[in-house]
């Protein structure tokens, strides 16, 4: 079985038509579906949050069969993720794509659980601490993309679960969780 780092690749990764955008509707729907699954799976295990369309992305080429996705195909597969709420374009030119292997809502739930598990209710912490602090080690929150984290926090703030305020340092924000 072929692997990419520690990621196990599915058998169809060696199937050349997998790397050509299929023109027939039914075939293409299935192909897009398989690409969506694979991208999310790969990003989740590798903790990848951002895919740049113009940069090399290991999943988008297969040197074993000498095939790689065209720009058009990459954009099509990522656009399919975006339309399902599993990804977001970060710019109008569709050059950078944020991959949401947890949806924003799911990230918010993870944060709530994280707060409960660590008894952080009514206490103050910072955004950076959630990403890099000792409490988050070993959880999905460790090293989470800052943009994604802020989105989830804003969602929770909107629901009245916490308050975000400007912290002492310029590049970090403080968070006060409510009980």
């Amino acid at each position: 079985m072929q692997t990419l780092g520690n990621f196990k690749l599915p058998p169809f990764f060696n199937y050349p038509p997998y790397f050509t955008l299929q023109p027939v509707r039914d075939t293409r729907e299935k192909q897009v579906q398989l690409w969506k699954e694979l991208i999310l799976d790969f990003c989740k295990t590798q903790k990848i949050f951002l895919i740049g369309l113009e940069e090399d992305f290991p999943l988008f080429s297969n040197p074993a069969i000498e095939r790689s996705l065209t720009h058009e195909a990459r954009e099509a597969f990522l656009a399919a993720l975006v339309s399902e709420g599993r990804a977001e374009w970060l710019d109008k030119g569709h050059r950078k794509c944020l991959i949401l292997w947890h949806r924003i809502q799911d990230w918010a739930d993870i944060i709530i659980n994280f707060v409960k598990d660590n008894g952080l209710e009514d206490s103050v912490t910072t955004v950076e601490e959630i990403r890099t602090g000792p409490e988050s080690r070993g959880t999905d929150l460790q090293g989470v993309d800052r943009v994604i984290l802020m989105r989830a926090l804003k969602l929770l703030e909107h629901k009245g679960k916490l308050v975000i305020f400007k912290g002492t340092s310029a590049d970090d924000e403080g968070i006060k969780f409510s009980s």
Partner: protein, 456 residues
Amino acid sequence: MAGAALPKAELTTSGRPILFPNEIECSLLSNVELEPEGSPPLSSSIHLRSSFMILTTHRLIFVSDSSSAAASAAATANAASYVPLASVAHIFSLKKSIKSMFASPRLKFQLSVGSDGRVGGPAARSLVVTLVMRGKDDVEAFVDKFRQNWGARAWEREKESESASSGSSSIVESSASSSGYDSRGMRMVGVAGILRREQEMWESTDKSLQDAFQDLNALMSKAKEMVMLAERMRSKLLSAPSQAGSSNDEELGSKEEMQEWLLSVGIVSPVTKESAGALYHQQLSRQLADFVKIPLERSGGMINLIDMYCLFNRARGTELISPEDLLRACSLWEKFDVPVMLRKFDSGVMVIQNKSHSDEEVFARIKSLITRPDALQMGVSAGDAAMTLGIAPAMAKEHLLTAESRGLLCRDVSPDGFRFYINLFPEIPTDDIYLVKDQGIYATWIKCASSTSRLE
């Protein structure tokens, strides 16, 4: 039925008359009626009305067309009968009067009728018949042609030449085989003899070819001779391999090729605008339907329109048709009951195919091709498919694209080219992308693909 006293003319499946050998079609009139004079029992058996009439060098052929009739009439449709020009005793001149300016033109001629009242047998008495021409055709040109063909007596000339040629050839053969000497007294045995005889034949052939190509008019008048020559050369070539045991494969190959060429010469009586007039496209369409059968069979039930254009025009010799004429002739097939049809692929490529031709059969063959172990690994290109299916690459590509659109295949575009693979996408489960069922084409493919990667 009307015209019962007239001999029946044979028609092809597409409703074109089958001509006698050496018979040439000259003119075509639409909507005519044959009105005999005289008492009912005899005259009614000759009286007939037909949608069009073809004048050939030998006959007046009356065809009652089916295309205008209802489908229920299909059994009696395309019935045709003819008046042999040999039975025409006299042609009266076309009457010109004030009246004739308003009524349909009428041409009277005298017809020899047998004692039993039938036309075409031994003549017992004669009968005056009027040909009423209701179509908007050039009547005067027709009458001229009619008179000319009748005067030329092509049917008599043929009988003479037939008896003459069969007699002379038997004499030549017998003398050559019995004595073993040619006309110049040289010995005609062994390889040298064969070579000399061949040389002589080619010299005479060469001469007639040169004559034929002097100018196009000469070629036209020689056309009939050329077709006969082609036929003769073909039969000669057909019999050749049996006597020349020493001929090698290459010779044999070129002989076969030569035969093919000779076979492709040869619509003796092409439908032309001049002869068919207003019915040109309709008649052309029918002639084409008859012609395409053999090339279609040879190319597996489907042939590119462009290829057909070349073949058809080659067979027509000098009476070339334009691509528009061909297209119009093909599109007219829808209206006739012919076994062929024009088909347009999604890509815009147009082909002629048998109505019985089924895509399913082609797909079955593509499927067996694409599931071979090497095709599973490497896919197939249009060229590969063309070789296996025995068709032109452009045609093979159309078939592959059609198979793709049906979900049988999918494509792989890479710097190596455009290849097709068996469509595995429906076989792959989406809930578990690592799952492979033990049975099925997906598992077979994985086996094939992994066997090569181990080799590498």
